[in-house]
């Protein structure tokens, strides 16, 4: 992957993000910039706040302090001329979310719908596409993730890797500007990890902007334009994979890599 020119405007811009869960300070002032077409991999030990950061990028968690901008648009709030923030109506937030695709560790496919219906549902309900249009798009995407022969299967009849690929197709069906991946291969049997990573690599090659929380160091090294290492709610180190993974400067990064490699 060749790094995108630094001049392009950021797709995601996180400034001074703080998140408290009660008394627990999970994010302690995180800054993050992701440029269009960039693949950003977030690494870090459990409890470092990386998943929380990702969930803040589409308002599944609401920041306690700081801001998230997607393509310059403030997430969750409207700022008036005097600089006062006004919370957006849930419908407006839902609209913002529809532009941001998310893939979960445990897939969260809708179990009462077939693979095809899973991919069709939000296109019809949210984007108001016609059934035929949504179906055509779903068929195309399921073929792309290699599941053309599994469209009429319910999630319970699919392997973990197949379910995760349906989940990716479901998110892509919304034509998102950015895709968020929350440990997409952590719940998979080892032999099924490869098929999901292959789909993600293909997506990266097509120029999708991606933020990926993962423990797959190999994937990070191969695909990431930008690697962020987090620990205890702060970004410890960031830069290209060749730097953060192969020549880490911080003790904590070295320590973590020694454990996972």
């Amino acid at each position: 992957m060749s790094p995108t020119p630094a001049s392009s405007a950021p797709m995601v811009e996180v400034r001074e993000a703080h998140k408290m869960f009660g008394d627990l300070h999970v994010l302690k002032g995180v800054d993050l910039t992701v440029r269009p077409g960039e693949v950003c991999v977030v690494l870090g030990p459990s409890g470092s706040g990386k998943s929380t950061l990702l969930r803040c990028l589409n308002e599944l968690e609401v920041l306690t302090g700081g801001s998230v901008r997607i393509e310059g648009e403030l997430l969750g709030y409207r700022e008036d001329a005097s600089g006062t923030l006004h919370r957006l109506h849930p419908t407006a937030i839902a609209k913002q979310r529809s532009r941001i695709g998310m893939v979960f560790q445990r897939f969260h496919l809708f179990p009462h719908m077939t693979a095809l219906e899973n991919v069709v549902e939000a296109q019809v309900q949210v984007l108001k596409r016609s059934k035929a249009q949504a179906r055509a798009k779903a068929v195309e995407l399921l073929e792309r993730v290699g599941l053309s022969d599994r469209m009429d299967h319910y999630p319970a009849q699919l392997s973990g890797g197949q379910q995760q690929r349906v989940a990716i197709a479901r998110a892509l069906a919304m034509d998102p500007e950015i895709m968020l991946f929350d440990e997409p291969t952590s719940a998979l049997d080892p032999e099924l990890v490869g098929e999901v990573l292959a789909v993600m690599k293909d997506l990266a090659a097509r120029g999708m902007t991606m933020v990926v929380v993962t423990h797959e160091i190999g994937f990070a090294r191969e695909v990431a334009d930008h690697v962020v290492f987090m620990d205890e709610g702060v970004v410890v180190e960031e830069g290209p994979a060749s730097q953060v993974i192969d020549a880490p400067t911080h003790e904590r990064t070295k320590d973590f890599l020694a454990h996972v490699l």
Partner: protein, 321 residues
């Protein structure tokens, strides 16, 4: 599989004698004898007056009673289901006023006997002789006489429906609560509105937890309608058969007539429940992918519900008045 042949894939197939279990045969024999005695006692005792049973099974008043009982059952369950969904959603609300009102309603209607409630609804026109539409605490526009609006039938229907709503609300709440939080999150991440999430994602999945106890409640309601004499509403099956029994001085055969009809309707309801459960259990079995319309074996479905660990196993959910 064929045992004794050269094509047996298991060359050393085990042919052992089963464990002798004489107890099973003895137990079966005892039960069969007891059952035969019970049937004999039913058939030969002239006091059951089977000819009278046959005579009144299709009596006009009895059939009409069956009709009214069905109307009361279906009507009160419909009132109950609609109100229960509203109450369950209120109990999940962020608004503390809505939450507490729903809690209070359930507390009140589950905490008092259905008989008491039915008598109360029957007396409503004594308590409030007139009903009116208008501005709360302000002027009234239209006024009705309570007696003409809430007749015995409506009092019975309301009494049963409002009581049932309290029980069903808890069932619906448990059902909504049984759906994995990740489902809501995934739907939200796709940009769905809260109302869409509830309608398209949460409720369809909650149904597989809600339907079985609701079927149970419907069967229970069928028989609870026999209490409407408390209102008093006098056209239902139990009142009709009791009245005939008292008139002809033969209460026992008429009890059998009513029992026959209740059993028949219950059996029909059980068939309906089976198909409803199968429909809402789709996607949770290991069955073949569907062509059109789901078909899932129940065993796989139950196993999936258990395996998911999401269903609440609360024995008090199915307790009826």
């Amino acid at each position: 599989m064929s045992a004794a042949s050269s094509t047996d894939p298991v060359p050393n197939r085990i042919h052992a004698r089963p464990v002798p279990r004489p107890g099973r045969w003895i137990a079966a024999a005892i039960v069969v004898v007891l059952a035969a005695m019970a049937v004999h006692a039913l058939v030969t005792n002239p006091k059951f007056a089977w000819d009278t049973v046959g005579l009144y099974l299709r009596d006009v008043t009895v059939i009409r009673g069956v009709g009214w009982t069905l109307i009361l059952t279906v009507g009160s369950m419909l009132i109950g289901i609609v109100l229960a969904v509203v109450l369950a959603i209120m109990r999940r609300s962020d608004n503390p006023v809505l939450r507490s009102v729903a809690w209070f309603y359930i507390w009140l209607f589950r905490g008092t006997p259905i008989w008491t409630q039915l008598v109360f609804w029957g007396l409503i026109s004594v308590l409030y002789p007139t009903l009116s539409l208008g501005i709360p605490f302000g002027p009234e526009f239209v006024t009705f006489e309570t007696q003409t609006v809430i007749t015995a039938f409506w009092a019975a229907l309301l009494g049963l429906g409002l009581n049932e709503a309290a029980y069903l609300a808890e069932i619906v709440r448990a059902g909504l609560g049984s759906v994995d939080k990740g489902q809501e999150e995934a739907a939200r991440a796709l940009g769905m509105k809260e109302s869409t999430i509830l309608r398209r994602i949460v409720i369809p999945q909650a149904m597989r937890v809600i339907v079985p106890p609701t079927g149970n409640e419907t069967i229970s309601m069928l028989k609870t309608t026999s209490l409407v004499s408390a209102v008093p509403f006098t056209l239902d099956l139990t009142f009709a058969t009791n009245a005939i029994g008292n008139r002809i001085f033969e209460p026992i055969p008429l009890l059998i007539v009513s029992a026959f009809w209740y059993l028949l309707i219950t059996s029909v309801l059980m068939v309906g429940q089976y198909y409803l459960e199968r429909y809402y259990g789709r996607g949770t079995g290991e069955s073949k992918p569907r062509g059109r319309g789901p078909r899932t074996p129940r065993l796989g479905r139950q196993a999936a519900i258990k395996a998911s660990g999401t269903a609440k196993d609360d024995p008090f959910l199915e307790v009826t008045p």
